[in-house]
Symmetry: C2
Subunit: 328 residues, 2 copies
């Protein structure tokens, strides 16, 4: 025999297996004496409840699963941290699975979770169409942290990207900037909303929005900045798609001898570790990523408890002002 079973513990403690089971699930209807005796035996034998057997018998797993698109991205790991905290508070175990940035990976990761039959799933994904999500939602309680058009099959939590852009435009115009350029990130997740928010906020103020193609990486920021600075009238402020892209902008500006923020102000998005570095010190939009995880888990728990009507939450970001922005 390998690991000791409940029967072993019961025999050792001189009680029935059912009693041991009750103790293990700390039921209140066990006498203190019995409880102590059982616990002592369990401890002595090095007993460890067999989760497989337990879940099979009870039909529950007391576990929720999180699928993250990419562990390298702090966005997802902070999300996971929020999920972990909320799950721990609810006494649930957490299983993490990663899509390793590939769509096929996300599929596999979701399959794993579905096979595990976790009580519910938090989807921190990026690559998926709503359809795939729907299919998951059909099989288990699901909440997605993503910008969707409020599907009925699952709950969603997402950042108010447009509002983030609004905060940026507000900040820059208050500093006196009028020629403000946005380097976007095409159709990457969140990018269209940020772009739209930027364009609307500019129009609202009677300003012409300048938008350049870009992406969520340093190189894109660098080359977009190069093109921007070649304009007859270069912008006095640049709002990059995210912090990484803003870093590229910064590198380029330094390389051509432009001073930040005296000549050009720069704003990032995401408030990653980068933005806070003394050498960069980027003004940026902070998203409460842990809160995303926390709220999504809370919604998921409600679903698990039986709620069926979908809920959709929009979470508000805030601006963090650092030294990359200044008066025009």
């Amino acid at each position: 025999m390998g690991q000791p079973t409940m029967d072993d513990v019961a025999a050792h403690a001189g009680v029935s297996r059912a009693l041991v089971s009750l103790v293990m699930r700390d039921s209140p209807r066990v006498s203190d004496r019995s409880r102590k005796k059982v616990l002592a035996s369990a401890n002595e034998l090095g007993y460890r409840p067999n989760v497989w057997a337990r879940n099979l018998a009870s039909g529950q797993t007391n576990t929720i699963g999180v699928m993250l698109n990419d562990l390298h991205n702090p966005y997802f790991t902070e999300l996971a941290e929020g999920v972990a905290a909320a799950a721990a508070e609810a006494g649930m175990e957490l299983l993490i699975t990663s899509g390793w940035q590939r769509e096929s990976g996300e599929h596999a990761a979701i399959e794993t979770l579905l096979n595990m039959r976790t009580d519910g799933i938090v989807l921190g994904a990026a690559r998926f169409s709503g359809e795939v999500f729907d299919e998951v939602a059909q099989q288990t309680p699901t909440v997605a942290v993503a910008n969707f058009d409020e599907p009925e099959s699952m709950d969603t939590v997402c950042n108010d990207e447009a509002h983030g852009s609004e905060l940026v435009v507000d900040h820059l115009t208050k500093l006196g900037h009028t020629r403000i350029a946005h380097i976007d990130a095409g159709n990457a997740p969140g990018a269209p909303e940020r772009r739209r928010g930027f364009m609307n906020s500019m129009s609202d103020r009677g300003l012409a929005p300048i938008v350049f193609d870009g992406d969520f990486n340093e190189h894109a920021g660098m080359s977009a900045a190069a093109n921007l600075m070649k304009l007859k009238e270069p912008p006095t402020a640049i709002f990059a798609a995210n912090d990484l892209s803003a870093t590229g902008v910064l590198s380029h500006l330094r390389s051509i001898g432009a001073r930040v923020p005296d000549d050009v102000s720069i704003v990032g998005y995401d408030d990653t570790l980068l933005a806070g570095l003394g050498a960069l010190s980027l003004t940026t939009v902070h998203q409460p990523r842990q809160l995303f995880g926390r709220r999504s888990t809370e919604l998921l728990l409600e679903r698990i408890e039986g709620r069926t009507a979908a809920k959709h939450e929009l979470i508000q970001p805030r601006l963090v002002t650092r030294s990359s922005t200044g008066p025009n």
Copy 2:
């Protein structure tokens, strides 16, 4: 009834449950006709094998677990990536668990894995004493990615930190530097080895090693640099504990108007995203973190297959030269 079971599939296909089981585990001894019929039924019913039942019955999980100290740290996520790749190749599922940077978290994370009875565990930890590791190793095949003194109970994979320091000293002395300072990180994981490697390499070359107290963060680099530059004879090159610390050094040097690398050369350690940024461009020591994960998983699989003698691997880092270092 909820999800369909094997019996449902068997009934639907008009065969026995055992046959369905064989098909599900794709045994070769099933006729093509039966296989197709079963698969069709399974598909039609939306059958999904119940992992809990399967594992309970088979006594195996076909899963390995990874415990990571901290998902925010790219070191661990890249490690995990290597593990994931190797696990996938071996046809194993992967379960990730995080200690959320706290020792209590690591305990809980390991408990979760132990409870899941994964076939083996990869420990990507930082906070633990060898004792705790030993206890885990007693219960399941274990491999640790950590600097240990070659325990008998488990395999280990680790970076040759001392050699990394040697590479740095070699690079700097070849550039003509002789007054080289190291900002260390006390007893943080890996730090003592880096420090020792630095001191030995310097002594070997007849140079006096300058070592200042520090830590693995930006602030520590900043204040250590401040102290270093106040010396009567400031160093011409600074070897920081890691990239983050090097970033702090860089910020300080810029703030006092020192030019990098003309006045002072800077070297980091880890080759994180930071080091590659154009605005920082740090010379640093690269560790093949994915390889750590890969090798550790391969070792784990051998253990699972039955090997009992411990193996310990030391993996060699390499220097990545960027523009933060130059001739003296």
